[in-house]
Symmetry: C2
Amino acid sequence: MRRDPVTGHWVILSPERKMRPRFYVQNGENVLTPGNCPFCEGNESMTPPEIYAVRDRQSRANERGWRLRVVPNKYPALRVEGSLDKRGEGFYDKLNGIGAHEVVIETNSHVKGMDELGVEEVTEIFLTFKRRILDLKKDIRFKYIQVFKNHERMAGATISHPHSQIVALPVVPLRLGEMLDAARGHFEVRDRCMFCDIIYHEGEYGKRVLVENGEFIVISPFAPKMPFELAIYPKGHGASFEDAADSSVGSLASILRDVLGRLNRALERPAYNLILHNSPFGMGCGDYFHWHIELVPVITGTGGFELGTYTYINPTVPEEAIKVLSGKG
Amino acid sequence: MRRDPVTGHWVILSPERKMRPRFYVQNGENVLTPGNCPFCEGNESMTPPEIYAVRDRQSRANERGWRLRVVPNKYPALRVEGSLDKRGEGFYDKLNGIGAHEVVIETNSHVKGMDELGVEEVTEIFLTFKRRILDLKKDIRFKYIQVFKNHERMAGATISHPHSQIVALPVVPLRLGEMLDAARGHFEVRDRCMFCDIIYHEGEYGKRVLVENGEFIVISPFAPKMPFELAIYPKGHGASFEDAADSSVGSLASILRDVLGRLNRALERPAYNLILHNSPFGMGCGDYFHWHIELVPVITGTGGFELGTYTYINPTVPEEAIKVLSGKG
């Protein structure tokens, strides 16, 4: 990993990922079928040995009989073995790309989207995230774990079979650093969690709320980068996703399924990214950070303006997005 | 414009841009021909009236006889009329989207890439950027001007006819703020420009240098976000592009043409973004900022990991990119 002195961003240089086969062809058509898909039942030997699985009692590891599997990424961006070996090169900073890169195969069905799975199945996916985070955070070399899902090629997926990814990083990424700085600043002045304030304010205002249940609220943020961007917040304060009760994870699965159904109906099954924003480890940010999920349909592309400024141009105001997704648009 | 309290990023909410026609169809094929392209000669009435043009002496504004035109964007992200009217909404920040959004139609030829234009023509494009910046910076409401080019649909272009864009912003964008912070920090400790140090270091090291001439050096940065990313730096210190001598602009055009030719040969005419990083206005950063151009071929997509962390996974190390682009790979 190398750090750009100009922006402070870390970059993962990973020559091995060039070896990845291209499972999508240029026009977006998927060339994988259940017969040759490495994530389908019966093809367990096409992945590295599983780390975790939800299986029938009689079945054996790396064989048929599973409903969910976690395997190491075959072309990992980061590797578990070795030491960080932080060092300078002139005034440049680098360190070894130590980390973990796992794939959560969400279902043995090649074609089902997350909204077509039952609540129990979606709950199992998020409980798996929780278990993997609890296991990976024992490794003191890791500072942050990024859980995310790329759905469809437009959103960065290279394999169409439904899956999520877990990346354990040896540094706290800049995006999270920005959030922590803003949240810490808010807490220092007001002695309140910034996200709790947002949740309260949005609940009162109402026009940017899509749906809520007892434990979660789904809003389109005040300043969304992308059209129809959504955020899912637990209503009660909690800094770390992995500390959420299993019953809360079930409540999250239920509201997420509902939201994905709405996106699919209103936007004709868009590609999307799902991102879990969670606390980094050992930073004592329990009072002011608040875990949440960012859900971004990939509809408009970005170009040189966004790359050059990090300022996004969004043609859809959040109040209108909520109308459309609520079926009132 | 609204600011996201969580990350500090400004977003431009621009409902009018939803009206833009889609000139590219889904499979990437271009449906514009010289007959119906608003940027082609003879179709001047399809754009708003021109702001600037390079024309034959006998020709008249908004008629045939031009080689380059600057027109307002028909679907602008920001508008020139009005006042900023900065205000809060709860603890949210917003201001009116005041700015300018111009299109530089680089040539009257529908099909020629920048590398196929003569050095004089490319020089004229960059001299136009210089003139437009000098004109727009007279407006004290503008804090920054972003010049950029999206080449091909993959890089965010909606019209294939070669063009660049100029956006004048009422705020200094966060990406530039990051660069200014890093450069100021470097200057305060070392009393030297960080970019001048990078240029010197890279010149000595050599393995990340693609090409140089008397006034410019082209490198692949130490920590590139994307494969084959390049940076073009003026060797002499200069904070503001618009203060560069016209002869330097000619030297820039010459090296850029060379570099685009190399990219096209090595990567089979990739889509790319070209971004001019320039000084913001009135910030007194002349000692420590150093204008430069970022050139990013769009080869790999990004997904939830990059969106969630701002950490990029790049399979091509810069030293290898230079070998490939130099024809030694």
